[in-house]
């Protein structure tokens, strides 16, 4: 096999989650207007206040304009061509009570994706919420979690079963009109996960949600809400894939995290949406608003993300450190190849005293892609002794890609200490040469170097994810040098 062929087979054929599942969908009209929103709400059988929330958000969204400040170029989605709600036909029109009632084809899909939903086959210690297009298919280990007092279900179920919690927290971190895509999400949001960990509880297992976009016409607008009461702890994982279509699909999610006193939330993402082909055809537009709020003293929120997919990624998982002594962390690896574009980073807002944040961001660009880090560290006047440490390193592979760094630092307190450093470099020829003369081939050598480059971030991932991320990085970059 010639080198080009090898490269093509690796880059082109790499996306092994690109298959479609042939299921029957319920009819739902395209486009967005008040009637559509009412219809979504009706189908989900929502209480009046949720509908109001949606309609208010929609009013705000109509007034807003799509922002153009990110360092990405794309054709703006046509919002009238998107199907905002997509659910599969149920056997008797109800949400399945047990796995037997779930459509076999959907089960097979998850099987293929490596996420078996049968509990006995599951990795011990991870509960899964499987979201297929607009709805949650099934949530595992619910009973076991309930014993510990942890609520883990889809947000639609939570609206039905725990309305007081949802009402109190939903929109309190990311308000309805926060930004263009958050407002759109608030108007049409579909299933995402809801997690509630009561006081003094360490969640007995890792929780995870697996998002899958299958329907070609639909977008995904999930909404996730995680609440950690005083002195509790949870680790949450999120994975995403989508089939390969020629058309771009929109994914506009909102994730809200609330950590009360001494609570800790660890949120890890492996984002592997379909990234489009080499010419940049198709792929997911990943426009996501993720924000955590350290409300209580000494709370901690930690974001870890491995971003390898999506045609365009545009997201800034942020932490507002309001409680004194609270901690925010952001660990990110963003890999772009071919025509992918990523503008990602974080916002660390220091409000409380003695707050501390760490940002470690690693960007790798290859092919003709563009990778930007955009971050804000803001120290408010009363954030005494706040500390921030940021490192953003970029690596370029090949001569046609770009790496950009836009770190904003705003400090209004003299006792605060902010440190930022960034570097851009490439995989050194001498490094490759050294590994090659030790008997490794070029691909393995690059993979090893890249892994070393990202190590600080990868080691933050939970075990199962770390293995996956490792492999993902290897596949993503194979054949890109040479």
């Amino acid at each position: 096999m010639s080198e080009t062929e090898a490269l093509e087979s690796m880059v082109g054929g790499e996306y092994k989650y690109g298959f479609t599942t042939d299921v029957e969908y319920e009819d739902f009209p395209k486009g967005i207007n008040e009637d559509i929103i009412r219809e979504i709400s009706r189908r989900k059988d929502e209480p009046e206040w949720v509908l109001e929330f949606r309609l208010e958000a929609f009013e705000k969204w109509k007034q807003m304009e799509e922002p153009d400040w990110p360092n990405v170029e794309y054709e703006k989605p046509n919002f009238d061509e998107i199907q905002y709600y997509s659910s599969t036909k149920k056997k008797d029109g109800k949400k399945p009570e047990s796995l037997d009632e779930v459509d076999d084809q959907i089960l097979e899909t998850y099987e293929k994706l490596g996420i078996p939903l049968e509990e006995q086959k599951q990795l011990q210690g991870v509960a899964v919420d499987a979201v297929f297009d607009s709805e949650s298919i099934f949530t595992t280990f619910k009973e076991k979690l309930a014993e510990a007092g942890v609520i883990f279900c889809s947000i639609s179920e939570a609206i039905q079963d725990h309305p007081e919690l949802v009402k109190e927290y939903m929109g309190s971190v990311v308000p309805k009109g926060d930004n263009f895509y958050a407002a759109l999400n608030s108007a049409v949001f579909s299933d995402g996960s809801f997690v509630y960990v009561p006081e003094d509880t360490v969640c007995p297992m890792d929780l995870s949600t697996y998002f899958r976009i299958n329907n070609m016409q639909s977008g995904q607008f999930e909404r996730t809400l995680i609440i950690c009461e005083d002195n509790s702890h949870v680790s949450y994982l999120e994975g995403c894939t989508a089939p390969m279509y020629q058309e771009n699909q929109l994914h506009a999610a909102v994730v809200e995290l609330v950590a009360l006193e001494d609570a800790e939330i660890k949120y890890s993402t492996i984002q592997n949406w379909y990234s489009g082909d080499e010419e940049g055809q198709g792929g997911i537009f990943n426009f996501v608003t993720k924000r955590g709020h350290c409300r209580g003293d000494n709370s901690k929120i930690s974001w870890t993300q491995v971003e390898t997919g999506s045609a365009i990624t545009w997201k800034y998982p942020s932490v507002i450190m309001q409680g004194d002594g609270s901690i925010g962390e952001f660990f990110s690896v963003a890999v772009t190849n071919n025509r992918q574009q990523a503008d990602t980073g974080t916002k660390m807002i220091h409000v409380g005293k003695d707050t501390k944040s760490t940002i470690i961001s690693k960007g790798i660009s290859a092919g003709e892609s563009d990778n930007s880090y955009r971050g804000l560290v803001k120290i408010s006047p009363r954030a005494e002794n706040a500390q921030n440490y940021s490192v953003c390193d970029s690596m370029l592979i090949g001569q046609t890609c770009g790496a950009h760094t836009f770190p904003y630092i705003e400090s209004a307190n003299p006792t605060a200490k902010v440190e930022h450093e960034a570097s851009t470099s490439r995989v050194g020829e001498d490094q490759i040469f050294y590994l090659q003369q030790r008997g490794m081939d070029e691909d393995d050598a690059i993979s090893l170097i890249v892994n070393g480059f990202c190590k600080e971030v990868l080691q933050e991932l939970p075990m199962e994810f770390a293995v996956e991320a490792d492999k993902l990085l290897g596949i993503k970059l194979e054949g890109s040098v040479g």
């Binding site: 370029l396 001569q399 836009f406 904003y408 630092i409 003299p414 902010v418 450093e421 570097s423 490439r426």
Partner: protein, 447 residues
Amino acid sequence: MAKVKQKKERTFLQDLLNFQGSLNGKSQFLDKVRLKGAEGVRNTPFPTKKLEDWKYISLRDLYRDSYELASELDVEVPDFSEHYLPESEQSRLVFINGSYSEAHSTTEALPDDVTIGNIAQLAAEDNELLKEHLNTYAQNNFEDDVFTAFNSAFLKDGAFIHVPEGKTVDTPIHLLNIQTDAEEHYFATPRTVIAAEQDSEVTVIEDHIGLADNKYFNLPVVEVNLEEGAHVKHTKIQRDSRKAIHIARTAAFVAKHADYESYTITRGAKLSRNEPRISQRDEEVEFTVDGLVLIDGDQVSDTHSVMDHRFSHAESHQLHKCVINGKAHSVFNGKIFVQRDAQKIDSFQENRNLLLSRKGLVNTKPQLEIFADDVVCTHGATVGQLEQDELFYLKSRGLNEQQARELLIYAFALETIENISVDSVQELLAEEVRNFTKRQLDSELAV
């Protein structure tokens, strides 16, 4: 009400164009440049906070006032000889309120083949070198900038320095811009052009001094061109009055094997904005864009620099340090561009801020935009106060709190000025730093 304000903002510079008529008729060449500048002012929108590059500072203080043309004022000029540099006793051009002062200027120490003089005069003589260089570089790097256009629209007096091939000018050239007290608020638009031919060498000290504490608007534009192997050292000291507004542009082009060193020291002005933009014209160049900002009270200082690497093999260096006290506000945005195929670039950028007071504010954004893979580009930014353990160490050595703080602030600031090659300038700046530090500590102790 809001509408009226907005309108003022839009037309503020255009209204000032009324003063322009009095300048014309002495040189066709300059008339043309001014005409084009005026056109630029009419066609370019005035920056607002909505623009990314202007989001942290407000220009209200500038546009809500009206200004007179500085050269039309009748002012008394006090003695300012204390500001002369001993190294440049015979190589000095003086501009008072933007107008050339022949009586104070002298260029006797400079070799005959160096062309140096006032732009208006050279233009009246139809000087070919002036025509070749004037406005070429500013226009190129500040195409859409309303302030550069405004400077062109009032282009008259200014310094022109041309160093011929192979010439090394040993004597530093002092460009002294004096702003005097005046009853009216006025504006001045000095222009400086430095053209260094192949393998030439020159050192220029651009000095802005406000003698009183009146309000004026100073808008200097500096153009620098370095031919192959040329070496230009450019130090700018800004000591404008504490009520002045200082908006400066520097456009520099660097050819093969050339080396451009620029040091900008910001001490004065209520609102200052510096925009050095350095562009590579060929491979294998070096440039330095260092800066030191010492501000307190209600001062605002903003630096937006661009280091544009367009060809392979360049080495660039930027160390920008700020000391902020009182209610002062410091802004830094340093852009490093590495264009496609500009390989083997080694670029270093660091912004360090010493925030001494509760009400001070720092906004910094170092920025990398890189399109070539074989490069080493790093940037760093820090914001903090004096290290407790450093203070402790010095105190353990017998210094008192004040001495220890003074020493540390002094050391922090000194790093940026110790590379300046003119001794008296180094001393003068060291003195400025000392005074600044003292002032801070006195006011701190008083609180």
